[in-house]
């Protein structure tokens, strides 16, 4: 094949992928399909709890609800969460750049962007920990707390798993597990990380803006 | 490559049409029995929606039976006619037909039509249920582990285990629960709704047959769910009145004497809207809803008397409110046809003050 391994233009990247053996192409195709189906089922899980939140919110006359002392609970503070959201969305951008770097065979750039993603992900989790500490509702105190902590907790758990996954991918990439044309693990990681971002868009809107 | 030969197709098979006729006749016979089946004898139709619901059940039974008879009939027939014979060799095959678009179209259309028919009938009965009369006697039942509590209007303390209601009086029954989910089911009324804590559901029905029936819990509620039952007594108006009066008495709640001079028309008007307007308009006599219009009681020359045949005055109006009435219509001075059932004061949960107020209001209408 006349494609030079050093040629990093888009066309060369595409041509390189085509030349990979058909057995790998099949395997990647199946794994991608399977991973997307897994993400769909995960979306259903979040949707079930989002339904629960909307249902419970609609079944009381006031939201935030009135607690048992007759006091209306306060709304969540948007400012801090907005900043934390930018951190998470930023990590989505850095993940995208990491992926692009890899496709263009720029290992150093990949490492940088990947580390940035991991750091931003951890920062987001830290931000959530601070948010949990400062909100005025408790998990068991009201349906507002119940839905908030459970949904954002599930999301945080997904972010946590994602951070671990990204660290593993980083190590694997640096150990040569992935090549310029065979890097499904990285694709899956990117998809997962974007999924986590999209879920957060929904949760941020539902709890802070709505 | 050689192909195996399939048997020759000889129409739809021996006896197919005779069988179809036999199955159709069988369906007709069974349908007849379904339609005339006296469900009422096995499970009384004790209240208003039961007849409607049984009618829907019969309709669905006729269709369901037809489907089942045809399916099983053809199945058995095909198994017999198209069975493998001992004389068939090991390579014997059936008629290699894959599909028949016309047939498939018909057996999509016909069941769809049946489903539409069932849906239409079901929706009609459902609408009837939504429009059931209620509101004359409004009461509540609360489920507990493992008994039923009943609350009557103005009765301070609840009654347990025995629910009494007067025949002919449309009932609105609100149900809820004090602990876990229960259910309120009277098989003879054919209605049930779950008793859900934090939620109120409403049953509306008109008892039609005097007797003792069962209230059964059908939603698992704990250890003694199977023993959570109560009695429903549909009483005559008089018996209900007596029972309710006895409850009031037992709870030390008498009511003050009846003083027709102390009635307040405004309060009476509000009460009329709450309690009477289900059955009575304030238009002329002929503007009946269930009972006659009461707006021109004192001024209509065509109807000089009350339906009891007595002159229109406070005492006679109050008499009807106290005792109810279900005799002939004597409002035109002669013996008229039966006017239906006007519930008595206990069925309507009217205190003496209520009666005074209503009387004052009715007399104020011109």
């Amino acid at each position: 094949m006349a494609v030079s391994a050093l040629n990093t233009s888009h066309e060369a990247v595409a041509a390189r992928y085509q030349s990979v053996d058909p057995a790998y192409a099949d395997q990647r195709d199946q794994r991608l399909f399977g991973f997307v189906l897994f993400l769909i089922s995960d979306v259903v899980l979040f949707s079930a709890f989002i339904f629960a939140y909307l249902y419970l919110r609609n079944s009381v006359p006031n939201w935030p609800p009135i607690n048992k002392d007759g006091v209306q609970l306060p709304r969540f503070d948007v400012a801090f969460a907005a900043i934390n959201s930018c951190v998470l969305f930023g990590s989505g951008a850095t993940m995208h750049f990491a992926m692009e770097s890899w496709k263009h065979l720029n290992k150093a750039a990949f490492n940088l962007w990947m580390l940035a993603t991991i750091v931003l992900g951890i920062a987001f989790l830290g931000g959530q920990a601070y948010e949990y500490h400062s909100v005025q509702v408790t998990w068991a105190g009201s349906t507002m707390g119940a839905t908030f902590f459970t949904l954002t907790g599930m999301h945080g758990f997904h972010v946590f798993i994602g951070v671990i996954y990204l660290i593993v991918l980083y190590i694997q990439a640096n150990r040569g597990v992935y090549t310029g044309s065979k890097y499904f693990g990285l694709t899956a990681g990117t998809l997962y990380w974007h999924f986590v971002d999209v879920i957060w868009v929904a949760l941020f809107y539902l709890f802070y803006l709505m | 490559m050689a192909q195996l030969t399939a048997p020759q197709q000889k129409g739809l098979g021996p006896g197919f049409w005779p069988l179809t006729i036999v199955l159709t006749i069988l369906n007709a016979i069974v349908s007849y029995f379904i339609v005339v089946l006296p469900i009422d004898q096995y499970l009384p139709e004790a209240a208003a929606p039961a007849g409607d619901i049984d009618a829907l059940f019969r309709f669905m039974s006729v269709i369901g039976n037809a489907i089942f008879v045809y399916v099983v009939g053809y199945l058995l027939y095909f198994c017999w006619v198209w069975r493998r014979r001992a004389s068939d060799g090991p390579d014997a095959i059936g008629i290699q037909v894959h599909d028949n678009p016309t047939l498939e179209l018909w057996w999509t259309i016909v069941p769809s039509i049946l489903v539409i028919m069932i849906a239409i009938f079901s929706v009609r009965i459902w609408i009837n249920l939504q429009n059931s009369l209620g509101d004359v006697l409004t009461m509540e039942s609360i489920g507990h582990q493992f008994k039923y509590e009943f609350r009557y209007p103005r009765l301070k303390q609840s009654v347990y285990n025995d629910m009494h209601i007067p025949v002919g009086t449309p009932i609105t029954l609100h149900v809820t629960s004090a602990d876990v989910i229960h259910s309120f089911w009277v098989p003879e009324v054919r209605l049930k709704y779950d008793m859900v804590p934090g939620l109120v559901q409403t049953l509306r029905f008109t008892p039609e047959r005097i007797g003792k029936y069962r209230i059964i819990c059908t939603e698992f509620c704990g250890t003694n769910h199977g023993n959570m039952v109560a009695n429903l007594y549909i009483d005559s108006q008089q018996d209900f009145g007596r029972w309710l009066a006895a409850q009031f008495k037992a709870q030390g709640q008498g009511s003050g004497p009846l003083n027709l001079n102390a009635g307040q028309a405004a309060a009476g008007q509000q009460l009329f809207g709450e309690k009477c307007s289900t059955c009575h308009s304030v238009g002329p006599f002929t503007q009946k809803i269930v009972g006659p219009g009461l707006g021109h009681l004192t001024t209509d020359p065509n109807y000089p008397n009350l339906v009891t045949g007595k002159p229109v005055n406070a005492e006679n109006i109050a008499w009807i409110l106290v005792n109810g009435y279900q005799g002939p219509d004597n409002s035109q001075g002669k013996n008229g046809p039966s006017i239906g059932v006007m519930p008595n004061r206990q069925a309507n949960a009217l205190s003496n003050q209520d009666i005074a107020n209503l009387t004052a209001y009715l007399l104020s209408l011109k």
Binding site: A23, D26 | R190, F220
Partner: protein, 567 residues
Amino acid sequence: MAVAAAHGGAIGHHDHIHPEPEGFVAKYIFSLDAKVIGIQYMIAGLLFFIISGLLAEVVRIQLLTPNGAIVSNDTYNGVYSLHASGMVWMVIIPMMTGGFGNYIMPLMIGARDVAFPWLNLLSFWMFPVAGVILFSSFLIGAPDAGWTEYPPISVQGPPGTTMWCIAIFLIGISSTLTGINFMVTIFKMRAPGMTFTRMPLFVWAQLATAMLNMIATTALAGALLALFLERVFDVPFYDPARGGSPLLWQHMFWFYSHPAVYIMILPAFGIVSEVFPTFARKPIFGYKMIAFSSIAIALLGFMVWAHHMFTSGLAPWLQLPFMILTMVIAVPTGIKIFSWLATLWGGKIEFHPAMLFALGFIVVFTFGGITGIFLSAVPVDLHEHGTYFVVAHIHYVLFGGSIFGAFAGIYYWWPKMTGRMLNRSLGVWHFWLTFISFNVTFLPMHWLGLLGMPRRVAQYRPEFQFWNDVCSIASFVLAASTLILLYNLATSLVRGKRAPANPWNARTLEWTISSPPPYYNFKTIPAVLKNPYNFGEPLPYIGLDPQPDAPDDRPPAAPGSALPAHA
């Protein structure tokens, strides 16, 4: 041939044959082979079937008398709750998807295995663990509020309810992963030339089931997680006193559990669609309609969940669309039944036990489907909900439907899976005893319910005793009839006649390889020219390689005939 050439000689990633696994553990305990996993699912499923069935017999013994006290009421409530939970989640779903699906589906599409064998292994092992957790809940107080566990009572329920949450959550993950695995397998690993309309109908059924498994199960996971959190950490989702709603559970639970009933029945539909053509010696009638109606039923199945909630406290206007949509599902289901009947027409019907159970399925499932239409009409459901009428309906469609279908599948594919034949006359006895005792057990429950017997009761009113006794005694016969099957299975393994590759002269791909198949299934993946139901023509596969270890006990075929002779 042209088809093979288009793939450049190699069929795909899985065309090469891995070396055979070595050692007992790798071969039989932690095997990656979908066939071994399939058998493991069947064994565990049968074990849980026996346990759940015995629990049902405890129920029937208690209900012999109106004031039964065979066990305490609390224990009784745990008994039927675990009977139902076990049957739904530890028997029918695993056997139909994990059992039959894993073994037969890859063979039918000409694959060597499923798409993700490691995931398959993980899915399987979650299953017996979940089952053990579920049934050991008896030790600390079994969950007592039925398999539906409505709050608030389930929040207050015995400690075993928490174990129930965990067990079902675990089996739910297993199901979801299996659903994903099967979807990828069916979409991506079919043999060359096998378009969707050349796929056997069992595979269509597994596809529709996998879709349901994959999408609906996580909704249940959500409901279970919330119940777990409320029980263990007092987090208010369902508690009305703190703004929660008991109805929320019902929506989340039934959003899964209605598709779950289609998960349980669609594979049975698929089995019947395979058994009928084989034992009538003609194509399945209306292949396309059966295939598409499976997908239609799966999709519609997501839209009808609240028909379980007509009495629960829904806004009245909501009852209407759910009622109508539920009635609509009758149409694709009816189409299937008529298509199966038309498959019988013009056939050469052989009354093998598999065929008998498939025929029995049609009779009993039609009846159960009709009672389902009764329940779908709100005014009638207001009378019938929560009574033994529902219990009757459930068992007609689940036992008469799914279990009869499973029995048909066992008789049909046992020779393929084990290399042994079952005793045919024992099978016929098993069928008739089961069919008759099943109907005597469950038919009276219809009128018991209509006349006033609620469900989930340890005691009942005396006027119901006669029919309860009829049901109970018939159920003892039903239980005994299962022993015939178990005896047949056991003796077949020990001294059953060796099974040829294709004892039924059937047409789908699994019958072109030995019984049991070699671990790699196909030496070379065949190419597929047509759908497999044309009994008058040669097999529609090319590139079939005779397996070197297939016993050639078939009499020589007639000259020019490509068909193996009837065994």
